[in-house]
């Protein structure tokens, strides 16, 4: 297994531009999570898919953030009209959702977004 793959690893955008981040989960994993990591806030939950269906997006800023999982092999996180406060590392994780494995996440290396 190649692990969770995230692209791009680094992205720099100007204020007001759009940013799209991609995640390829581990094959066979049924759950995909997106987190935002900053020094101040730590790991903030954004959203979560199970078998491609959105389950919980309670952490997503409603107006400019959106996430999709069009097929089992990739998920995208889109940020419209990026703002400097969106600068962070965005981490994607996948999980094999069986009882004995509950909560064991496999993280990608993250996409570092810098908004100038």
């Amino acid at each position: 297994n190649a692990g969770v793959i995230q692209t791009p690893r680094h992205k720099v955008t100007g204020k007001g531009q759009e940013a799209t981040l991609w995640c390829e989960p581990i094959s066979g994993h049924s759950a995909v999570f997106w987190y935002r990591q900053t020094i101040v806030q730590g790991l903030e939950f954004l959203t979560y898919f199970r078998n491609q269906a959105p389950i919980d997006d309670s952490g997503m800023p409603k107006e400019r953030f959106s996430a999709q999982m069009p097929n089992q092999s990739h998920s995208t996180l889109k940020i419209q009209s990026t703002q400097p406060q969106d600068s962070a590392v965005y981490l994607c994780a996948s999980s094999l959702e069986i009882w004995s494995n509950t909560g064991q996440l496999y993280f990608g290396e993250g996409s570092k977004l810098t908004v100038l």
Partner: protein, 113 residues
């Protein structure tokens, strides 16, 4: 809702001294608790996971005991090594009721010679 509290943002230690990182939680259910470790420029990865049968998980010299009475899952190690320097996150999964994993704010451990 579910939450995890890590009170120390930074812990600095001399090599060879014991390590204890604090973690308390709030959850409606009987959650699973975890410790994840993130070394510099790497992805977070699982270090320990609580068991349902009260066994004490151990890995790489680290251990943690789930105390339901005090809602705690502190991480301990008897002797710190330089290679233990990293960011440590405590996390919970509700188990019954969902698989969303909630993380604490993290504790950075710096071990010096």
């Amino acid at each position: 809702g579910d939450s995890v509290t890590q009170t120390e943002g930074l812990v600095t230690l001399t090599e060879g001294l014991p390590v204890m990182l604090n973690c308390t939680y709030q959850s409606t259910y009987s959650p699973f608790l975890f410790w994840y470790v993130q070394h510099l420029n790497e992805a977070p990865k699982l270090l320990l996971k609580s068991f349902t049968d009260n066994k004490r998980p151990e890995h790489q010299g680290f251990h943690a005991t789930l105390h339901k009475s005090s809602s705690s899952f502190h991480l301990q190690k008897s002797s710190a090594q330089l290679s233990d320097s990293a960011l440590y996150y405590c996390a919970l999964s509700p188990g019954t009721g969902g698989y969303k994993v909630v993380f604490g704010s993290g504790t950075r451990l710096l071990v010096s010679p």
